[in-house]
């Protein structure tokens, strides 16, 4: 791996990479390592990998970063995660794109999670783009989640810099006593566009879901947040979308919640606004100039 690729990898992956690893570089598998509990193999029908985690795995660390340095590449991949019963798994995924040329670079990653009974999965995903070329850096991830009885999943997604266009879709089906937490952080600038959509069906009794989205849109960038939550049983869902807009940034939040059961409790909260003047004044009263105060507020908001 050259310096550029190493730098990209560090931007999208904080993991020590001591567990199972699959690094994909410019549309091809570059490095793979299996462990006692985790087996990674190529999918047979189309591009991508299958990740299988054994039942009763006490803890498994999995890293599956994607690096793209080739301008004009369209990389489409589907990764399937089969997590056994009673397993505990931490997954680092991320995509870094360096595009210094004229053609657009695309990465479309579909991740399917089949999480077994009483298992617990944490999934951390970072997207990052760089390069002075006019070619766009585009990432369109699709995440499909199926939680079996008693399973838990927590997703943290971060896209702070350099992605020109993104369309992120997360779909989840939650069975009995499952819990899904999604924490999303997105910052856009220039004329970047980002759309995120959450479609969650709470099918099982006592299932619950919490989505926390923090977004900052600056300059002429545009973001759209869509949530579509359906509660079919006694369940709980809380969707919170907080956005800061600066300059000519635009954000829209579109909630749709549907309760099909009298004990379904579904909440959607959305706030969109500029940085509060009183926050700026407070930090300036501590000695920060306006620019630093704004940076501090945004950094805190996205942390």
């Amino acid at each position: 791996m050259n310096n550029l690729e190493n730098k990209l990898l560090k931007k999208v992956n904080d993991s020590p990479m001591t567990g199972a690893v699959n690094i994909r570089k410019n549309g091809k598998m570059w490095q793979r390592k299996n462990t006692k509990y985790v087996t990674i193999s190529d999918r047979k029908d189309r591009g991508g990998i299958e990740i299988r985690v054994k039942d009763d795995t006490p803890f498994a660390l999995i890293d599956i970063p994607v690096l793209i340095t080739q301008s004009g590449l369209t990389d489409t991949v589907r990764n399937d995660f089969y997590i056994g019963k009673n397993a505990k798994v931490l997954i680092y995924a991320g995509c870094g794109i360096n595009n210094c040329f004229e053609k657009d670079s695309f990465h479309s990653g579909e991740h399917y999670f089949y999480v077994g009974e009483n298992s617990s999965v944490k999934y951390i995903e970072k997207h990052y783009g760089e390069g002075k070329g006019r070619g766009k850096r585009v990432i369109n991830p699709v995440t499909q989640i199926f939680l079996e009885k008693g399973a838990k999943m927590e997703i943290e997604t971060t896209q702070i810099e350099g992605i020109d266009d993104t369309n992120r879709v997360t779909r989840a089906i939650l069975k009995e006593k499952t819990n899904l937490i999604v924490k999303e952080k997105i910052m856009t600038s220039g004329s970047q566009k980002a759309m995120t959509e959450f479609i969650v069906k709470l099918k099982g009794r006592e299932s619950s879901c919490r989505v926390i989205s923090r977004a900052v849109a600056t300059e002429k960038s545009e973001q759209k947040f869509v949530s579509n939550i359906k509660g079919n049983e006694k369940c709980f869902a809380h969707i919170a979308c907080d956005s800061i807009i600066k300059d000519k940034g635009r954000v829209s939040a579109i909630p749709k919640i549907k309760a099909n059961h009298v004990e379904a409790e579904l909440v959607h909260e959305a706030t969109i606004g500029k940085i509060a003047g009183e926050q700026l004044v407070k930090l300036m009263s501590l000695g920060l100039d306006q620019k630093k105060a704004e940076e501090e507020i945004i950094q805190g908001f996205l942390n």
């Binding site: 009183e278 501590l286 501090e296 805190g300």
Partner: protein, 232 residues
């Protein structure tokens, strides 16, 4: 140290401050009081640069600072504790205090203890609505104490805190009065705080008058506080 000359402030055609002249001297403890809407908070905000007076001049150690920004005044040594503490989503108490102390290492977090909060429980919490009004208020006060300003302004520090916190607050101010090297200006309606003052400033209908300390009794309408610290 600080001198205000002929300060007037109008908002939406209403006179808020009317030809205020005031001198604050070093290492003195001032209490500013008066009826609600009389102009106390506005005057404090004019000193901090949060509001700009239409007329008059402000001098800090003989330098005119009327055009200086809030952060410039902070760097010169003016600190301001807000009546309504400001909440920040995502910013931890630890970070806010680091910013207040100009990123110097927080030594023993003494300032949190000083305002009655256990650092271990609070440093990693966010300055947001998960904290009670009283907790936010104490953090607000702590952020100003950490700055060690030459002039520390506290805008109604007793507002919104419970009786226990109020007694704790009195101790904080007694300690400041004894050990603090700077000047303190507290906006307050509380007799216990007024009793500590070297000088009491009464603001009424935008006009300022200095009240002799032995006349506090005439000034104060004694208030009973309920268990949550609200005055009735």
């Amino acid at each position: 140290m600080l001198e205000l000359k002929n300060i007037s402030l109008e908002k939406e055609g209403k006179k808020i401050l009317d030809r205020i002249d005031l001198k604050l001297e070093e290492k003195k403890f001032y209490v500013m009081t008066g009826p609600n809407g009389g102009g106390k908070s506005s005057l404090a905000k004019v000193i901090m640069g949060i509001e700009t007076s239409q007329k008059g001049q402000i001098f800090w150690n003989k330098e005119e600072i009327g055009q200086k920004s809030i952060d410039a005044r902070s760097k010169m040594g003016i600190g301001f504790s807000f009546q309504q503490p400001i909440k920040f989503k995502g910013i931890k108490i630890k970070r806010l205090l680091e910013l207040a102390s100009k990123n110097k290492k927080l030594r023993g977090c003494g300032v949190l203890r000083q305002v009655g909060l256990c650092p271990r429980e609070y440093l990693e919490r966010e300055v947001d609505s998960s904290l009670s009004g009283g907790e936010l208020k104490r953090i607000e006060i702590a952020s100003v104490l950490l700055q060690r300003p030459k002039l520390a302004i506290f805008d109604e520090p007793e507002a919104g805190i419970d009786l226990w916190s109020f007694n704790n607050l009195i101790e904080v101010f007694k300690d400041l009065q004894k050990n603090y090297a700077g000047t303190i200006l507290v906006i307050s309606h509380q007799e216990k705080i007024m009793e500590m003052a070297d000088e009491i400033l009464l603001i009424k209908n935008g006009r300022l008058e200095i009240v002799e300390k032995n006349k506090i009794a005439n000034l104060v309408i004694k208030k009973k506080c309920d268990s949550k610290g609200g005055c009735i």
